[in-house]
Symmetry: none
Subunit: 154 residues, 4 copies
DNA sequence: TATGAATGAGAGTTCATTCAT
DNA sequence: AATGAATGAACTCTCATTCAT
Protein backbone atom coordinates (compact mmCIF):
# COMPACT_ATOMS: atom_id res chain seq x y z
CA UNK A 1 0.00 0.00 0.00
CA UNK A 2 1.18 3.51 -0.69
CA UNK A 3 1.67 6.18 1.90
CA UNK A 4 -1.35 8.31 1.15
CA UNK A 5 -3.80 5.51 0.31
CA UNK A 6 -4.56 4.65 3.91
CA UNK A 7 -6.46 7.90 4.26
CA UNK A 8 -8.86 7.04 1.44
CA UNK A 9 -10.23 4.34 3.72
CA UNK A 10 -9.61 5.56 7.25
CA UNK A 11 -9.82 8.99 8.74
CA UNK A 12 -6.59 8.45 10.63
CA UNK A 13 -4.17 5.77 11.70
CA UNK A 14 -5.91 5.73 15.07
CA UNK A 15 -9.19 4.98 13.34
CA UNK A 16 -7.59 2.14 11.39
CA UNK A 17 -6.26 0.70 14.63
CA UNK A 18 -9.68 1.01 16.22
CA UNK A 19 -11.47 -0.66 13.32
CA UNK A 20 -8.95 -3.50 13.25
CA UNK A 21 -9.35 -4.07 16.97
CA UNK A 22 -13.12 -3.82 16.69
CA UNK A 23 -13.24 -6.34 13.87
CA UNK A 24 -10.85 -8.62 15.76
CA UNK A 25 -12.89 -8.54 18.94
CA UNK A 26 -16.16 -9.10 17.05
CA UNK A 27 -14.67 -12.06 15.26
CA UNK A 28 -13.35 -13.51 18.52
CA UNK A 29 -16.75 -13.04 20.16
CA UNK A 30 -18.53 -14.68 17.22
CA UNK A 31 -16.26 -17.72 17.43
CA UNK A 32 -16.72 -17.84 21.19
CA UNK A 33 -20.49 -17.82 20.74
CA UNK A 34 -20.26 -20.82 18.44
CA UNK A 35 -18.13 -22.69 20.96
CA UNK A 36 -20.51 -21.92 23.80
CA UNK A 37 -23.51 -23.03 21.73
CA UNK A 38 -22.39 -26.64 22.13
CA UNK A 39 -23.41 -27.30 25.71
CA UNK A 40 -20.71 -29.17 27.52
CA UNK A 41 -19.59 -29.58 31.10
CA UNK A 42 -17.58 -26.69 32.52
CA UNK A 43 -14.25 -28.51 32.20
CA UNK A 44 -14.76 -29.20 28.51
CA UNK A 45 -15.99 -25.68 27.93
CA UNK A 46 -12.92 -24.21 29.61
CA UNK A 47 -10.70 -26.38 27.43
CA UNK A 48 -12.55 -25.14 24.34
CA UNK A 49 -12.33 -21.52 25.43
CA UNK A 50 -8.62 -21.88 26.04
CA UNK A 51 -8.10 -23.57 22.69
CA UNK A 52 -10.07 -20.85 20.92
CA UNK A 53 -8.18 -18.11 22.71
CA UNK A 54 -4.86 -19.59 21.62
CA UNK A 55 -6.18 -19.80 18.07
CA UNK A 56 -7.31 -16.20 18.08
CA UNK A 57 -3.98 -15.07 19.50
CA UNK A 58 -1.54 -17.23 17.60
CA UNK A 59 -3.06 -18.12 14.25
CA UNK A 60 -1.00 -16.76 11.42
CA UNK A 61 -3.44 -14.05 10.42
CA UNK A 62 -3.96 -12.73 13.92
CA UNK A 63 -1.71 -9.71 14.08
CA UNK A 64 -4.71 -7.67 15.16
CA UNK A 65 -4.68 -9.42 18.53
CA UNK A 66 -1.28 -7.96 19.27
CA UNK A 67 -2.95 -4.60 18.79
CA UNK A 68 -5.85 -5.50 21.08
CA UNK A 69 -3.42 -6.61 23.78
CA UNK A 70 -0.78 -3.93 23.55
CA UNK A 71 -2.09 -0.88 21.69
CA UNK A 72 -5.26 -0.20 23.65
CA UNK A 73 -3.73 2.91 25.16
CA UNK A 74 -3.18 4.36 21.68
CA UNK A 75 -6.95 4.80 21.30
CA UNK A 76 -8.90 7.75 22.57
CA UNK A 77 -11.15 7.33 25.57
CA UNK A 78 -14.34 6.68 23.63
CA UNK A 79 -12.79 4.10 21.37
CA UNK A 80 -11.01 2.39 24.23
CA UNK A 81 -14.23 2.14 26.19
CA UNK A 82 -15.99 0.44 23.27
CA UNK A 83 -13.21 -2.10 22.81
CA UNK A 84 -13.09 -2.72 26.53
CA UNK A 85 -16.82 -3.33 26.51
CA UNK A 86 -16.34 -6.11 23.96
CA UNK A 87 -13.46 -7.48 26.00
CA UNK A 88 -15.83 -7.46 28.97
CA UNK A 89 -18.35 -9.54 27.04
CA UNK A 90 -15.60 -11.91 25.99
CA UNK A 91 -14.43 -12.33 29.57
CA UNK A 92 -17.95 -12.78 30.95
CA UNK A 93 -18.22 -16.26 29.47
CA UNK A 94 -15.01 -17.20 31.20
CA UNK A 95 -16.21 -15.85 34.50
CA UNK A 96 -19.25 -18.12 34.60
CA UNK A 97 -17.27 -21.19 33.59
CA UNK A 98 -14.62 -20.45 36.22
CA UNK A 99 -17.29 -19.97 38.86
CA UNK A 100 -18.73 -23.36 38.07
CA UNK A 101 -15.32 -25.02 38.18
CA UNK A 102 -14.49 -23.31 41.45
CA UNK A 103 -17.78 -24.35 43.02
CA UNK A 104 -17.23 -27.99 42.05
CA UNK A 105 -13.66 -27.94 43.33
CA UNK A 106 -12.13 -28.58 39.93
CA UNK A 107 -10.24 -25.34 40.27
CA UNK A 108 -9.06 -23.76 43.48
CA UNK A 109 -9.10 -20.01 43.07
CA UNK A 110 -10.87 -16.77 43.68
CA UNK A 111 -12.53 -16.32 40.31
CA UNK A 112 -11.78 -12.67 39.39
CA UNK A 113 -8.10 -13.02 40.18
CA UNK A 114 -7.95 -16.45 38.60
CA UNK A 115 -9.43 -15.08 35.39
CA UNK A 116 -6.77 -12.39 35.24
CA UNK A 117 -4.03 -14.91 35.90
CA UNK A 118 -5.34 -17.36 33.31
CA UNK A 119 -5.68 -14.63 30.69
CA UNK A 120 -2.12 -13.69 31.51
CA UNK A 121 -0.87 -17.18 30.76
CA UNK A 122 -2.71 -17.19 27.46
CA UNK A 123 -2.02 -13.63 26.35
CA UNK A 124 1.65 -13.85 27.21
CA UNK A 125 2.03 -16.68 24.71
CA UNK A 126 2.24 -14.17 21.87
CA UNK A 127 5.58 -13.16 23.36
CA UNK A 128 7.22 -16.57 23.17
CA UNK A 129 5.16 -18.90 21.00
CA UNK A 130 6.75 -19.88 17.72
CA UNK A 131 4.56 -21.88 15.34
CA UNK A 132 7.62 -23.05 13.40
CA UNK A 133 9.13 -25.08 16.19
CA UNK A 134 8.13 -26.36 19.56
CA UNK A 135 4.67 -26.94 20.89
CA UNK A 136 1.40 -26.96 18.95
CA UNK A 137 -1.76 -25.15 19.99
CA UNK A 138 -3.03 -28.51 21.26
CA UNK A 139 0.08 -28.88 23.40
CA UNK A 140 -0.44 -25.42 24.84
CA UNK A 141 -4.07 -26.11 25.54
CA UNK A 142 -3.26 -29.39 27.28
CA UNK A 143 -0.54 -27.75 29.35
CA UNK A 144 -2.82 -24.94 30.45
CA UNK A 145 -5.73 -27.20 31.34
CA UNK A 146 -3.45 -29.57 33.22
CA UNK A 147 -1.86 -26.72 35.12
CA UNK A 148 -5.03 -25.20 36.54
CA UNK A 149 -7.57 -28.03 36.59
CA UNK A 150 -7.29 -30.20 39.67
CA UNK A 151 -9.52 -32.99 38.40
CA UNK A 152 -8.95 -33.32 34.68
CA UNK A 153 -11.89 -32.47 32.51
CA UNK A 154 -11.10 -35.11 29.96
CA UNK B 1 14.54 17.46 33.13
CA UNK B 2 15.43 19.41 30.04
CA UNK B 3 15.82 18.15 26.52
CA UNK B 4 19.59 17.84 26.46
CA UNK B 5 20.19 16.68 30.01
CA UNK B 6 19.58 13.02 29.31
CA UNK B 7 22.69 12.93 27.17
CA UNK B 8 24.97 14.06 30.00
CA UNK B 9 24.41 10.63 31.51
CA UNK B 10 23.60 8.33 28.61
CA UNK B 11 25.04 8.17 25.14
CA UNK B 12 21.63 7.70 23.59
CA UNK B 13 18.06 6.92 24.44
CA UNK B 14 18.75 3.31 23.49
CA UNK B 15 21.63 3.22 25.98
CA UNK B 16 19.41 4.63 28.70
CA UNK B 17 16.86 1.92 28.03
CA UNK B 18 19.57 -0.73 28.12
CA UNK B 19 21.09 0.51 31.37
CA UNK B 20 17.70 0.71 33.02
CA UNK B 21 16.87 -2.83 31.96
CA UNK B 22 20.31 -4.07 33.01
CA UNK B 23 20.04 -2.48 36.43
CA UNK B 24 16.52 -3.82 36.81
CA UNK B 25 17.49 -7.37 35.92
CA UNK B 26 20.56 -7.27 38.18
CA UNK B 27 18.47 -6.02 41.06
CA UNK B 28 15.85 -8.70 40.45
CA UNK B 29 18.54 -11.40 40.30
CA UNK B 30 20.15 -10.13 43.51
CA UNK B 31 16.84 -10.25 45.34
CA UNK B 32 16.14 -13.69 43.90
CA UNK B 33 19.52 -14.92 45.18
CA UNK B 34 18.67 -13.74 48.67
CA UNK B 35 15.32 -15.55 48.54
CA UNK B 36 16.92 -18.77 47.34
CA UNK B 37 19.58 -18.59 50.05
CA UNK B 38 16.93 -19.50 52.64
CA UNK B 39 16.58 -23.23 51.96
CA UNK B 40 12.92 -24.16 51.97
CA UNK B 41 10.81 -26.87 50.43
CA UNK B 42 9.94 -26.38 46.77
CA UNK B 43 6.39 -25.21 47.47
CA UNK B 44 7.55 -22.48 49.82
CA UNK B 45 10.29 -21.48 47.44
CA UNK B 46 7.83 -21.19 44.57
CA UNK B 47 5.58 -19.01 46.71
CA UNK B 48 8.55 -16.79 47.55
CA UNK B 49 9.64 -16.56 43.92
CA UNK B 50 6.12 -15.62 42.90
CA UNK B 51 5.87 -13.02 45.65
CA UNK B 52 9.24 -11.55 44.67
CA UNK B 53 8.30 -11.48 41.01
CA UNK B 54 5.12 -9.57 41.79
CA UNK B 55 7.15 -7.16 43.89
CA UNK B 56 9.68 -6.60 41.14
CA UNK B 57 6.92 -6.07 38.59
CA UNK B 58 4.44 -4.03 40.56
CA UNK B 59 6.27 -2.07 43.22
CA UNK B 60 5.89 1.63 42.70
CA UNK B 61 9.47 2.18 41.60
CA UNK B 62 9.46 -0.64 39.08
CA UNK B 63 8.75 1.10 35.82
CA UNK B 64 11.90 -0.47 34.46
CA UNK B 65 10.19 -3.87 34.41
CA UNK B 66 7.74 -2.60 31.84
CA UNK B 67 10.78 -1.90 29.70
CA UNK B 68 12.24 -5.36 30.29
CA UNK B 69 8.96 -6.98 29.32
CA UNK B 70 7.92 -4.83 26.38
CA UNK B 71 10.87 -2.87 25.00
CA UNK B 72 13.40 -5.65 24.49
CA UNK B 73 13.06 -5.31 20.74
CA UNK B 74 14.15 -1.67 20.91
CA UNK B 75 17.66 -2.79 21.85
CA UNK B 76 20.34 -3.78 19.40
CA UNK B 77 21.32 -7.41 19.07
CA UNK B 78 24.25 -7.29 21.47
CA UNK B 79 22.31 -5.50 24.18
CA UNK B 80 19.30 -7.74 23.76
CA UNK B 81 21.45 -10.83 24.07
CA UNK B 82 22.94 -9.61 27.35
CA UNK B 83 19.56 -8.85 28.87
CA UNK B 84 18.20 -12.17 27.66
CA UNK B 85 21.14 -13.91 29.29
CA UNK B 86 20.16 -12.37 32.64
CA UNK B 87 16.55 -13.34 32.02
CA UNK B 88 17.79 -16.86 31.38
CA UNK B 89 19.56 -16.90 34.75
CA UNK B 90 16.45 -15.58 36.41
CA UNK B 91 14.28 -18.26 34.85
CA UNK B 92 16.72 -21.07 35.65
CA UNK B 93 15.86 -20.92 39.36
CA UNK B 94 12.20 -21.36 38.49
CA UNK B 95 12.88 -24.31 36.26
CA UNK B 96 14.50 -26.34 39.02
CA UNK B 97 11.74 -25.55 41.50
CA UNK B 98 9.06 -26.47 38.98
CA UNK B 99 10.82 -29.73 38.20
CA UNK B 100 10.81 -30.66 41.85
CA UNK B 101 7.13 -29.77 42.23
CA UNK B 102 6.25 -31.73 39.10
CA UNK B 103 8.18 -34.78 40.27
CA UNK B 104 6.40 -34.79 43.64
CA UNK B 105 3.01 -34.34 42.03
CA UNK B 106 2.41 -30.95 43.60
CA UNK B 107 2.07 -29.49 40.14
CA UNK B 108 0.79 -31.26 37.07
CA UNK B 109 2.53 -29.84 34.04
CA UNK B 110 5.29 -30.21 31.53
CA UNK B 111 7.87 -27.89 33.09
CA UNK B 112 9.04 -25.73 30.14
CA UNK B 113 5.50 -24.94 29.04
CA UNK B 114 4.36 -24.50 32.61
CA UNK B 115 7.13 -21.99 33.25
CA UNK B 116 6.04 -19.95 30.25
CA UNK B 117 2.42 -20.08 31.34
CA UNK B 118 3.23 -19.12 34.91
CA UNK B 119 5.43 -16.23 33.84
CA UNK B 120 2.55 -15.15 31.64
CA UNK B 121 0.18 -14.98 34.60
CA UNK B 122 2.68 -12.95 36.56
CA UNK B 123 3.94 -10.66 33.81
CA UNK B 124 0.47 -9.90 32.56
CA UNK B 125 -0.35 -8.42 35.96
CA UNK B 126 1.36 -5.17 34.98
CA UNK B 127 -1.49 -4.72 32.51
CA UNK B 128 -4.33 -4.82 35.04
CA UNK B 129 -2.97 -4.54 38.57
CA UNK B 130 -3.83 -1.35 40.36
CA UNK B 131 -2.18 -0.85 43.73
CA UNK B 132 -4.74 1.78 44.71
CA UNK B 133 -7.73 -0.53 44.78
CA UNK B 134 -8.35 -4.23 44.77
CA UNK B 135 -6.00 -7.00 45.62
CA UNK B 136 -2.68 -6.73 47.43
CA UNK B 137 0.52 -8.44 46.36
CA UNK B 138 -0.19 -11.03 49.03
CA UNK B 139 -3.61 -11.65 47.53
CA UNK B 140 -2.07 -12.11 44.10
CA UNK B 141 0.54 -14.46 45.44
CA UNK B 142 -2.06 -16.55 47.24
CA UNK B 143 -4.25 -16.68 44.16
CA UNK B 144 -1.40 -17.79 41.95
CA UNK B 145 -0.14 -20.45 44.35
CA UNK B 146 -3.62 -21.77 44.89
CA UNK B 147 -4.30 -21.89 41.17
CA UNK B 148 -1.34 -24.02 40.18
CA UNK B 149 -0.38 -25.98 43.31
CA UNK B 150 -2.35 -29.15 43.80
CA UNK B 151 -1.20 -29.80 47.34
CA UNK B 152 -0.75 -26.50 49.07
CA UNK B 153 2.72 -25.77 50.30
CA UNK B 154 1.58 -23.93 53.40
CA UNK C 1 11.75 24.10 1.51
CA UNK C 2 10.43 22.88 4.81
CA UNK C 3 12.19 20.88 7.45
CA UNK C 4 10.94 17.45 6.54
CA UNK C 5 10.84 17.80 2.74
CA UNK C 6 14.48 16.91 2.20
CA UNK C 7 13.78 13.39 3.37
CA UNK C 8 11.22 12.73 0.64
CA UNK C 9 14.10 12.67 -1.80
CA UNK C 10 17.16 11.65 0.20
CA UNK C 11 17.55 9.10 2.92
CA UNK C 12 19.73 11.45 4.96
CA UNK C 13 21.68 14.65 4.74
CA UNK C 14 24.80 12.58 4.15
CA UNK C 15 23.12 10.88 1.19
CA UNK C 16 22.14 14.24 -0.26
CA UNK C 17 25.72 15.41 0.00
CA UNK C 18 26.94 12.24 -1.66
CA UNK C 19 24.47 12.41 -4.52
CA UNK C 20 25.27 16.06 -5.14
CA UNK C 21 28.99 15.32 -5.23
CA UNK C 22 28.45 12.27 -7.43
CA UNK C 23 26.35 14.21 -9.90
CA UNK C 24 28.89 17.03 -9.89
CA UNK C 25 31.85 14.77 -10.54
CA UNK C 26 29.98 12.89 -13.29
CA UNK C 27 29.07 16.13 -14.96
CA UNK C 28 32.65 17.39 -14.74
CA UNK C 29 33.96 14.13 -16.19
CA UNK C 30 31.44 14.23 -19.02
CA UNK C 31 32.46 17.75 -19.95
CA UNK C 32 36.12 16.79 -19.70
CA UNK C 33 35.53 13.89 -22.07
CA UNK C 34 34.03 16.24 -24.65
CA UNK C 35 37.00 18.59 -24.35
CA UNK C 36 39.48 15.74 -24.76
CA UNK C 37 37.63 14.41 -27.82
CA UNK C 38 38.89 17.37 -29.84
CA UNK C 39 42.48 16.32 -30.46
CA UNK C 40 44.79 19.26 -29.92
CA UNK C 41 48.40 19.75 -28.96
CA UNK C 42 49.17 19.38 -25.26
CA UNK C 43 49.40 23.12 -24.65
CA UNK C 44 45.97 23.77 -26.10
CA UNK C 45 44.54 20.81 -24.23
CA UNK C 46 45.96 22.08 -20.96
CA UNK C 47 44.42 25.47 -21.59
CA UNK C 48 41.07 23.84 -22.26
CA UNK C 49 41.29 21.67 -19.17
CA UNK C 50 42.12 24.71 -17.07
CA UNK C 51 39.29 26.70 -18.59
CA UNK C 52 36.85 23.84 -18.02
CA UNK C 53 38.03 23.40 -14.42
CA UNK C 54 37.44 27.08 -13.71
CA UNK C 55 34.00 26.77 -15.24
CA UNK C 56 33.14 23.73 -13.17
CA UNK C 57 34.38 25.44 -10.03
CA UNK C 58 33.11 28.96 -10.50
CA UNK C 59 30.02 28.90 -12.67
CA UNK C 60 27.00 30.17 -10.80
CA UNK C 61 25.34 26.79 -10.48
CA UNK C 62 28.42 25.04 -9.15
CA UNK C 63 27.96 25.07 -5.43
CA UNK C 64 28.36 21.32 -5.50
CA UNK C 65 32.07 21.74 -6.21
CA UNK C 66 32.55 23.38 -2.87
CA UNK C 67 31.20 20.18 -1.41
CA UNK C 68 33.52 18.01 -3.51
CA UNK C 69 36.52 20.07 -2.42
CA UNK C 70 35.74 20.61 1.24
CA UNK C 71 33.12 18.15 2.46
CA UNK C 72 34.66 14.87 1.37
CA UNK C 73 35.39 13.95 4.96
CA UNK C 74 31.70 14.18 5.81
CA UNK C 75 31.03 11.06 3.72
CA UNK C 76 31.38 7.53 4.96
CA UNK C 77 34.27 5.41 3.74
CA UNK C 78 32.43 3.70 0.93
CA UNK C 79 30.98 6.94 -0.44
CA UNK C 80 34.28 8.76 -0.14
CA UNK C 81 36.07 6.02 -2.02
CA UNK C 82 33.61 6.22 -4.90
CA UNK C 83 33.95 9.99 -5.18
CA UNK C 84 37.72 9.74 -4.94
CA UNK C 85 37.68 7.17 -7.72
CA UNK C 86 35.94 9.68 -9.99
CA UNK C 87 38.41 12.36 -8.90
CA UNK C 88 41.18 9.95 -9.85
CA UNK C 89 39.72 9.56 -13.34
CA UNK C 90 39.43 13.31 -13.64
CA UNK C 91 43.04 13.85 -12.65
CA UNK C 92 44.34 11.10 -14.94
CA UNK C 93 43.70 13.21 -18.04
CA UNK C 94 45.78 16.01 -16.54
CA UNK C 95 48.65 13.70 -15.72
CA UNK C 96 49.12 12.62 -19.31
CA UNK C 97 48.94 16.18 -20.62
CA UNK C 98 51.43 17.38 -18.03
CA UNK C 99 53.80 14.55 -18.87
CA UNK C 100 53.76 15.56 -22.51
CA UNK C 101 54.37 19.21 -21.66
CA UNK C 102 57.18 18.28 -19.29
CA UNK C 103 58.84 16.05 -21.88
CA UNK C 104 58.77 18.80 -24.52
CA UNK C 105 60.11 21.40 -22.10
CA UNK C 106 56.99 23.51 -22.18
CA UNK C 107 56.67 23.04 -18.46
CA UNK C 108 59.46 22.52 -15.99
CA UNK C 109 58.22 20.37 -13.17
CA UNK C 110 58.02 16.95 -11.70
CA UNK C 111 54.58 15.93 -12.90
CA UNK C 112 52.88 14.53 -9.74
CA UNK C 113 53.88 17.52 -7.62
CA UNK C 114 53.10 19.91 -10.45
CA UNK C 115 49.63 18.46 -10.81
CA UNK C 116 48.96 19.00 -7.12
CA UNK C 117 50.28 22.55 -7.28
CA UNK C 118 48.27 23.39 -10.38
CA UNK C 119 45.08 21.95 -8.92
CA UNK C 120 45.80 24.05 -5.86
CA UNK C 121 45.92 27.24 -7.91
CA UNK C 122 42.63 26.36 -9.57
CA UNK C 123 40.76 24.97 -6.58
CA UNK C 124 41.78 27.84 -4.36
CA UNK C 125 40.01 30.22 -6.72
CA UNK C 126 36.68 29.35 -5.11
CA UNK C 127 38.02 31.13 -2.02
CA UNK C 128 38.64 34.50 -3.66
CA UNK C 129 37.02 34.64 -7.09
CA UNK C 130 34.12 37.03 -7.41
CA UNK C 131 32.22 36.89 -10.67
CA UNK C 132 30.68 40.31 -10.03
CA UNK C 133 33.91 42.26 -10.19
CA UNK C 134 37.45 41.68 -11.30
CA UNK C 135 38.75 39.05 -13.64
CA UNK C 136 36.76 36.82 -15.97
CA UNK C 137 37.23 33.09 -16.34
CA UNK C 138 39.18 33.86 -19.52
CA UNK C 139 41.46 36.15 -17.54
CA UNK C 140 42.05 33.46 -14.97
CA UNK C 141 42.75 30.88 -17.63
CA UNK C 142 45.22 33.18 -19.36
CA UNK C 143 46.96 33.99 -16.09
CA UNK C 144 47.31 30.34 -15.17
CA UNK C 145 48.56 29.24 -18.57
CA UNK C 146 51.02 32.11 -18.69
CA UNK C 147 52.27 31.37 -15.21
CA UNK C 148 53.19 27.74 -15.77
CA UNK C 149 53.78 27.39 -19.52
CA UNK C 150 57.25 28.37 -20.64
CA UNK C 151 56.51 28.39 -24.34
CA UNK C 152 53.01 29.66 -24.84
CA UNK C 153 50.61 27.26 -26.42
CA UNK C 154 48.72 29.88 -28.34
CA UNK D 1 41.00 19.81 28.64
CA UNK D 2 37.58 19.58 30.25
CA UNK D 3 34.39 20.91 28.78
CA UNK D 4 33.93 23.94 30.97
CA UNK D 5 37.57 24.98 31.28
CA UNK D 6 37.74 26.65 27.90
CA UNK D 7 35.57 29.44 29.19
CA UNK D 8 37.95 30.29 32.00
CA UNK D 9 40.34 31.51 29.30
CA UNK D 10 38.18 32.58 26.40
CA UNK D 11 34.87 34.37 26.31
CA UNK D 12 33.60 32.00 23.64
CA UNK D 13 34.72 29.41 21.16
CA UNK D 14 34.66 32.09 18.49
CA UNK D 15 37.06 34.15 20.58
CA UNK D 16 39.39 31.18 20.96
CA UNK D 17 39.35 30.71 17.20
CA UNK D 18 40.08 34.37 16.69
CA UNK D 19 42.97 34.41 19.17
CA UNK D 20 44.47 31.30 17.63
CA UNK D 21 44.25 32.79 14.16
CA UNK D 22 45.61 36.10 15.40
CA UNK D 23 48.55 34.45 17.10
CA UNK D 24 49.17 32.30 14.01
CA UNK D 25 49.17 35.26 11.65
CA UNK D 26 51.40 37.30 13.95
CA UNK D 27 53.85 34.42 14.18
CA UNK D 28 53.84 33.98 10.40
CA UNK D 29 54.41 37.71 9.92
CA UNK D 30 57.26 37.74 12.42
CA UNK D 31 58.99 34.87 10.66
CA UNK D 32 58.38 36.55 7.31
CA UNK D 33 59.99 39.75 8.62
CA UNK D 34 63.11 37.83 9.62
CA UNK D 35 63.31 36.23 6.17
CA UNK D 36 62.92 39.59 4.44
CA UNK D 37 65.58 41.17 6.63
CA UNK D 38 68.26 39.22 4.74
CA UNK D 39 68.40 41.16 1.52
CA UNK D 40 68.55 38.84 -1.45
CA UNK D 41 67.61 38.99 -5.08
CA UNK D 42 63.90 38.58 -5.84
CA UNK D 43 64.23 34.98 -6.97
CA UNK D 44 65.92 33.92 -3.76
CA UNK D 45 63.43 35.90 -1.71
CA UNK D 46 60.51 34.23 -3.47
CA UNK D 47 62.03 30.82 -2.77
CA UNK D 48 62.42 31.76 0.89
CA UNK D 49 58.88 33.06 1.13
CA UNK D 50 57.54 29.87 -0.45
CA UNK D 51 59.63 27.73 1.88
CA UNK D 52 58.44 29.70 4.89
CA UNK D 53 54.83 29.49 3.77
CA UNK D 54 55.06 25.71 3.45
CA UNK D 55 56.61 25.57 6.91
CA UNK D 56 53.90 27.68 8.43
CA UNK D 57 51.22 25.58 6.74
CA UNK D 58 52.59 22.10 7.13
CA UNK D 59 54.78 21.98 10.21
CA UNK D 60 53.43 19.59 12.79
CA UNK D 61 52.23 22.23 15.21
CA UNK D 62 50.45 24.32 12.62
CA UNK D 63 46.86 23.31 12.96
CA UNK D 64 46.00 26.94 13.43
CA UNK D 65 46.72 27.59 9.76
CA UNK D 66 43.90 25.31 8.78
CA UNK D 67 41.71 27.64 10.78
CA UNK D 68 43.14 30.72 9.09
CA UNK D 69 42.49 29.20 5.68
CA UNK D 70 39.11 27.60 6.19
CA UNK D 71 37.40 29.04 9.25
CA UNK D 72 37.63 32.75 8.49
CA UNK D 73 33.90 32.87 7.83
CA UNK D 74 33.21 31.61 11.36
CA UNK D 75 34.44 34.95 12.75
CA UNK D 76 32.32 38.04 13.09
CA UNK D 77 32.91 40.96 10.77
CA UNK D 78 35.20 42.89 13.07
CA UNK D 79 37.37 39.90 13.85
CA UNK D 80 37.51 38.81 10.23
CA UNK D 81 38.58 42.28 9.16
CA UNK D 82 41.45 42.27 11.62
CA UNK D 83 42.70 38.87 10.50
CA UNK D 84 42.32 39.90 6.86
CA UNK D 85 44.37 43.00 7.59
CA UNK D 86 47.22 40.82 8.80
CA UNK D 87 46.80 38.57 5.79
CA UNK D 88 47.04 41.73 3.67
CA UNK D 89 50.34 42.62 5.30
CA UNK D 90 51.56 39.11 4.76
CA UNK D 91 50.64 39.21 1.08
CA UNK D 92 52.14 42.66 0.52
CA UNK D 93 55.66 41.29 0.73
CA UNK D 94 54.81 38.80 -1.96
CA UNK D 95 53.32 41.43 -4.19
CA UNK D 96 56.51 43.45 -4.34
CA UNK D 97 58.65 40.39 -4.98
CA UNK D 98 56.34 39.20 -7.72
CA UNK D 99 56.35 42.64 -9.31
CA UNK D 100 60.12 42.60 -9.44
CA UNK D 101 60.18 39.11 -10.93
CA UNK D 102 57.58 40.05 -13.50
CA UNK D 103 59.44 43.21 -14.50
CA UNK D 104 62.66 41.25 -15.04
CA UNK D 105 60.91 38.53 -17.02
CA UNK D 106 61.64 35.82 -14.51
CA UNK D 107 57.94 35.28 -14.17
CA UNK D 108 55.31 35.84 -16.78
CA UNK D 109 52.11 36.86 -15.11
CA UNK D 110 49.80 39.65 -14.11
CA UNK D 111 50.88 40.09 -10.50
CA UNK D 112 47.56 40.22 -8.56
CA UNK D 113 46.19 37.12 -10.29
CA UNK D 114 49.55 35.38 -10.09
CA UNK D 115 49.69 35.99 -6.36
CA UNK D 116 46.27 34.42 -5.91
CA UNK D 117 47.23 31.45 -8.07
CA UNK D 118 50.54 30.94 -6.23
CA UNK D 119 48.89 31.14 -2.84
CA UNK D 120 46.41 28.60 -4.11
CA UNK D 121 49.19 26.14 -4.95
CA UNK D 122 50.70 26.60 -1.52
CA UNK D 123 47.54 26.69 0.56
CA UNK D 124 46.06 23.69 -1.17
CA UNK D 125 49.00 21.62 0.01
CA UNK D 126 47.36 21.20 3.42
CA UNK D 127 44.78 19.09 1.62
CA UNK D 128 47.18 16.51 0.22
CA UNK D 129 50.59 16.85 1.86
CA UNK D 130 51.58 13.99 4.10
CA UNK D 131 54.77 14.47 6.10
CA UNK D 132 55.04 10.73 6.71
CA UNK D 133 55.57 9.73 3.11
CA UNK D 134 56.32 11.42 -0.17
CA UNK D 135 57.91 14.78 -0.77
CA UNK D 136 59.69 16.96 1.79
CA UNK D 137 59.11 20.68 2.22
CA UNK D 138 62.29 21.22 0.22
CA UNK D 139 60.87 19.11 -2.59
CA UNK D 140 57.68 21.14 -2.56
CA UNK D 141 59.59 24.39 -2.57
CA UNK D 142 61.75 23.26 -5.48
CA UNK D 143 58.73 22.09 -7.43
CA UNK D 144 56.90 25.36 -6.91
CA UNK D 145 59.87 27.54 -7.80
CA UNK D 146 60.60 25.47 -10.87
CA UNK D 147 56.98 25.59 -11.99
CA UNK D 148 56.59 29.37 -11.98
CA UNK D 149 60.11 30.76 -12.41
CA UNK D 150 61.20 30.92 -16.02
CA UNK D 151 64.84 31.60 -15.27
CA UNK D 152 65.78 29.72 -12.20
CA UNK D 153 66.70 31.81 -9.21
CA UNK D 154 69.36 29.46 -7.95
C1' DT E 1 40.90 28.75 38.00
C1' DA E 2 38.99 24.14 37.06
C1' DT E 3 35.27 21.01 36.86
C1' DG E 4 31.46 18.60 34.78
C1' DA E 5 26.44 18.40 35.21
C1' DA E 6 22.79 21.05 33.34
C1' DT E 7 20.86 23.95 29.87
C1' DG E 8 18.57 25.15 25.58
C1' DA E 9 18.89 26.46 20.88
C1' DG E 10 19.27 24.25 16.77
C1' DA E 11 20.34 20.43 13.61
C1' DG E 12 18.87 15.96 11.80
C1' DT E 13 15.18 12.78 11.35
C1' DT E 14 10.56 10.42 11.54
C1' DC E 15 6.01 10.00 10.56
C1' DA E 16 1.01 10.88 10.43
C1' DT E 17 -1.42 13.64 7.58
C1' DT E 18 -2.65 16.70 3.55
C1' DC E 19 -3.16 17.83 -1.11
C1' DA E 20 -2.69 18.44 -6.02
C1' DT E 21 -2.87 15.35 -9.61
C1' DA F 1 -10.01 5.86 -5.15
C1' DA F 2 -4.98 6.02 -5.52
C1' DT F 3 -0.65 8.30 -5.57
C1' DG F 4 3.45 10.21 -3.62
C1' DA F 5 5.56 14.73 -2.83
C1' DA F 6 5.14 18.11 0.68
C1' DT F 7 4.19 19.47 5.31
C1' DG F 8 5.10 20.34 10.13
C1' DA F 9 4.92 18.74 14.76
C1' DA F 10 7.48 15.97 17.61
C1' DC F 11 11.44 13.39 18.69
C1' DT F 12 16.58 12.28 19.08
C1' DC F 13 20.75 14.18 19.54
C1' DT F 14 24.75 17.80 19.51
C1' DC F 15 27.21 21.33 21.25
C1' DA F 16 28.41 25.97 22.91
C1' DT F 17 27.64 27.93 27.06
C1' DT F 18 26.42 28.51 32.08
C1' DC F 19 26.80 27.70 36.83
C1' DA F 20 27.23 25.67 41.39
C1' DT F 21 30.91 23.60 43.56
Amino acid sequence: MHSGSLFCHFKSKETLLYEVMLEGMRSALARQTIVLRGKHDAGTTLRQLIRLHFEVLLESSSDFMWAVLYELRALNTRQRRLIEELQGNYEAAWTSVLHELASTGCMRAEVPLARHLIFGSLNWSVQWFDAKNGASLDDLTDAMVTLVMHNTSR
